[in-house]
């Protein structure tokens, strides 16, 4: 009996499962004075297009979801107001993972993308 008691912890160690590492991902767009079109990859891996109207550069657009390591994260935006600017960020677990910005450029998309890094 004593031997079995000693060996039980080993069984627990062997079969203890580790949960896949999950990360909180946020897409954040700021500094647009009037609005923009955004195309982003959702939590389900689908692409979502939205037209966002903003009243001032202080307005922000944000999309949050939980992702697993290795998932592709993608957000791309463009604006039509030549007096505007835009900053696009991907934030993972509270830290800026990647960001891009433009000012007075209504031709070029600001695309920020990558994969959720493995630890």
């Amino acid at each position: 009996m004593k031997r079995i008691i000693l060996i039980l912890p080993l069984i627990f160690i062997l079969f203890s499962c580790q949960k896949e590492k999950e990360k909180k991902v946020s897409y954040l767009i700021t500094k647009s004075v009037s609005g923009f079109d955004v195309n982003y990859r959702t939590v389900n891996g689908e692409f979502q297009k939205e037209n966002v109207v903003t009243a001032s550069a202080q307005d922000r657009w944000e999309y949050d979801f939980i992702a697993e390591e290795g998932d592709i994260v993608f957000v791309s935006a463009i604006y039509k107001d030549i007096t505007s600017a835009i900053t696009v960020q991907i934030i993972i677990d509270g830290k800026v993972y990647k960001q891009g910005s433009s000012s007075q450029d209504t031709v070029r998309y600001v695309t920020v993308s990558g994969t959720v890094p493995y630890e």
Binding site: R3, L10, L14, N39, F47, S76
Partner: protein
């Protein structure tokens, strides 16, 4: 911190030992060694590593463990896997199999998962290496056979149940390994269930630089045996294994997920009649699902590439053994069918619409091989004759080899069928001059048909050199014509010395040749061009092995081994590179073959305390610099190194055993000649620095 963990584990061991202190049992301890198996009626070299040997090594994979066999080394691209090289032969030049015949086709074209990577080292009972083209019973054998024999259930006289467990820890890369097993049964029905878990982080080399080498692997195995009649045995076996996040800093991708299923049925009948001494049958299925990606590479910032490959082998082997007086005959047949299909999806993640394209890595490629073999052996007094012949019928086919880019055809080939009939044969003799001296000589010709990569790979950088490679469905089979001479001196008071030399003359040698861009344009950024596999006239390899083992009946002990291989290509082409482009070529005479390890030697001393219950062992490994490098493959020289290692085994009682040690005691920064360079110009893939390790084995 790591040393603290090590001390904690050690303290736990001492506590457990106190708990078991009342138990005491006589236990025979087998001593670790590279076993010289010459007394089994074979004329050729067979070396094996047994379970007790493996328990002493800090290796986490089969290829790594096999490096302790003379003239066996490994090509390393990450921390988890070492791809075996035997006497300079590698990849499909070696016949790697599980339990006498089960084949496994890895998924990765860059061999991040060779057959050895799909079996857990802690499931291994014995690793047997047969050098040369002499054992023709185990399928086509070109350069040697690696037989991975796993722990199998055995019939018991009375019903018995046994629980085993193992816990291991390695410092430096914070590696944990665990094993749990349950086996038992009676003389009619017997079984085993086991599971392994390994989790290793990145290691630090001797310069304290971190090497991205972490991995996680786990598996379970269920085996059920029956013995309905005396001398009849049937074993059903199923193994499912998983690899997760296995890092390969020397490859363009890492293994993200590998799910492998291995199924086999083995039947054995012995003493069927006075003449018909044994019948063996094996049926198997190996299924590999392999996903890899470049998400840990800097170039994934623009293109994320994910490859998903399915590889399947199934086949059988049947043989019968007949004893006709002094003559022993074995007749047999085997069959193997390999199927491979895979796609790489590239996603351009910096473009606004994030477009994806898919490319075929393999397009429903298949290879079938039917073999027939006959073995004959006979003793004539002090002389033993051993001969074998083998005929293989090999057929291969694939969907169209096609690569398109942006709607444009990059490469296409519809002429993909091939079939060959290959004849292999070997003959050897061993003469025992006295009880102390015997001499063996073997001649063999082993023929192998081209493998999946060599026939059907579509423009991937899979070689040692910096080129995209293109398969050639019209390649001819490669043949190894080899001669081995071996001598054994056996002095009861002084020990055993085994020495052998070999010479291999390889015809239709399969290697790569640059093709013009009109045939195929390179598809990988930074490569110099495209090489296509072709048959070169001939190359040769030669070398020696020398082993000494002290007598088993003394408390002290020593072992020594040395090995050397040199491969030469008499005439080949070296391409001249300027500004990253091929600008010309020149002929190179007597160019050394690439990826051949340098000469090396190992000396071990040990002492058996308490009738072998406690055995400390000091091991000195000396590896020379490799200056015989291939010009045509732009190989780099490798400096030599000396390593000091220490290990010990302590059998507390019949229930508990400990093995522990320190590898690379002086924290030497070194790399093996066969380690691939790290992708991205970061230099050589260094081996781990100092590692403390400890393994506990429980058995109830």
């Amino acid at each position: 911190m790591r040393i603290l963990k090590f001390i904690t584990v050690l303290a736990s061991v001492i506590c457990i030992n106190v708990a078991f202190s009342q138990e005491d049992a006589d236990t025979l301890i087998s001593l670790p060694s590279v076993e010289i198996i010459d007394q089994q009626g074979r004329t050729y070299s067979v070396h094996s590593l047994e379970r007790v040997d493996l328990e002493l090594l800090p290796a986490s994979d089969i290829g790594g463990a096999m490096r302790s066999i003379p003239n066996v080394s490994g090509i390393r691209k990450g921390g988890a896997v070492s791809d075996p090289v035997v006497r300079g032969f590698k990849y499909s030049q070696l016949n790697v199999q599980l339990n006498n015949g089960q084949k496994i086709e890895g998924g990765c074209p860059n061999r991040m998962d060779p057959a050895t990577a799909h079996i857990d080292l802690d499931d291994i009972r014995s690793l047997e290496v047969i050098k040369g083209p002499f054992a023709l019973r185990y399928g086509p054998n070109f350069g040697g056979v690696i037989n991975m024999k796993t722990i199998r259930p055995v019939p018991q006289k009375e019903f018995k149940l046994n629980v085993g467990a193992m816990m291991g820890y390695e410092s430096n890369w914070n590696g944990f390994k665990n094993r749990l097993s349950l086996d038992g049964g009676n003389d009619k029905v017997f079984f085993s269930l086991s599971g392994n878990l390994k989790k290793y982080g990145n290691y630090q080399d001797g310069n304290d630089n971190e090497v991205k080498s972490g991995f996680q692997k786990y598996n379970y195995t269920a085996q059920l045996g029956f013995s309905p009649f005396q001398n009849n045995y049937l074993i059903l076996s199923y193994d499912q294994s998983y690899g997760r996040n296995v890092l390969f800093p020397s490859l363009p991708m890492d293994e993200r997920e590998d799910d492998t299923k291995l199924f086999s049925v083995d039947y054995k009948a012995t003493k069927i009649s006075d003449i018909f001494s044994a019948f063996n049958a094996k049926l198997y299925l190996s299924d590999v699902s392999h996903v890899m990606d470049n998400k840990n590479r800097s170039f994934s910032d623009t293109v994320v590439a994910v490859s998903d490959i399915q590889a399947r082998n199934y086949g059988f082997r049947l043989d019968g053994e007949f004893d006709l007086g002094l003559n022993r005959l074995v007749f047999g047949t085997d069959y193997e069918h390999i199927l491979k299909d895979g796609t790489r999806t590239k996603t351009k993640i910096l473009e606004p619409s994030m477009p994806s394209i898919s490319e075929k890595l393999w397009n429903d490629a298949e290879i079938q091989n039917n073999g027939l073999f006959v073995l004959y052996s006979r003793g004539f007094g002090n002389f033993l004759l051993d001969a074998a012949v083998r005929l293989d019928f090999n057929r291969a086919n694939s969907g169209e080899l096609k690569l398109e880019k942006m709607g444009q055809e990059v490469y296409s080939n519809t002429d993909v069928k091939s079939s060959f009939t290959n004849f292999s044969a070997s003959a050897g003799g061993k003469y025992r001059f006295s009880s102390k001296f015997s001499l063996s000589f073997s001649l063999g010709r082993g023929v192998r048909s081209p493998d999946m990569n060599e026939r059907y790979i579509i423009l991937l950088p899979i070689g040692y050199d910096n080129y995209d490679y293109l398969g050639n469905p019209k390649l001819e089979p490669e043949a190894n014509n080899e001669a081995d001479l071996k001598a054994i001196l056996d002095f009861p008071e002084a020990g055993i010395i085994e020495g052998g030399i070999f010479f291999s003359y390889v015809t239709n040698f399969i290697t790569g040749k640059l093709v013009p861009e009109s045939v195929a344009r390179p598809q990988t950024k930074g490569v110099y061009g495209v090489k296509q596999f072709y048959n070169e006239d001939y190359v040769f390899l030669k070398g020696f092995e020398l082993i000494y083992e002290s007598p088993m009946n003394k408390s002290w002990g020593a072992r020594a081994r040395a090995a050397y291989t040199r491969g030469v290509n008499p005439e080949t082409t070296k391409y001249i590179i300027e500004n990253g482009e091929v600008t010309g070529s020149e002929v190179v005479k007597n160019d050394p073959l690439p990826e051949i390890p340098p000469i090396e030697g190992t000396v071990e001393v040990f002492y058996r305390f308490s009738n072998g219950r406690f055995v400390p062992n000091l091991n000195l490994r000396m590896v020379a610099a490799q200056n015989n490098i291939s010009e045509s493959y732009m190989e780099d020289k490798t400096p030599g190194f000396v390593l000091l290692n220490f290990n010990l085994m302590y059998q507390f009682n019949s229930y508990l055993k400990l093995t522990a040690g320190v590898s690379n005691i002086f924290d030497k920064a070194y790399y093996e000649h066969l380690n691939r360079r790290i992708i991205g110009g970061k230099g050589n893939l260094y081996e781990p620095g100092r590692i403390f390790y400890l393994n506990l084995y429980f058995n109830i």
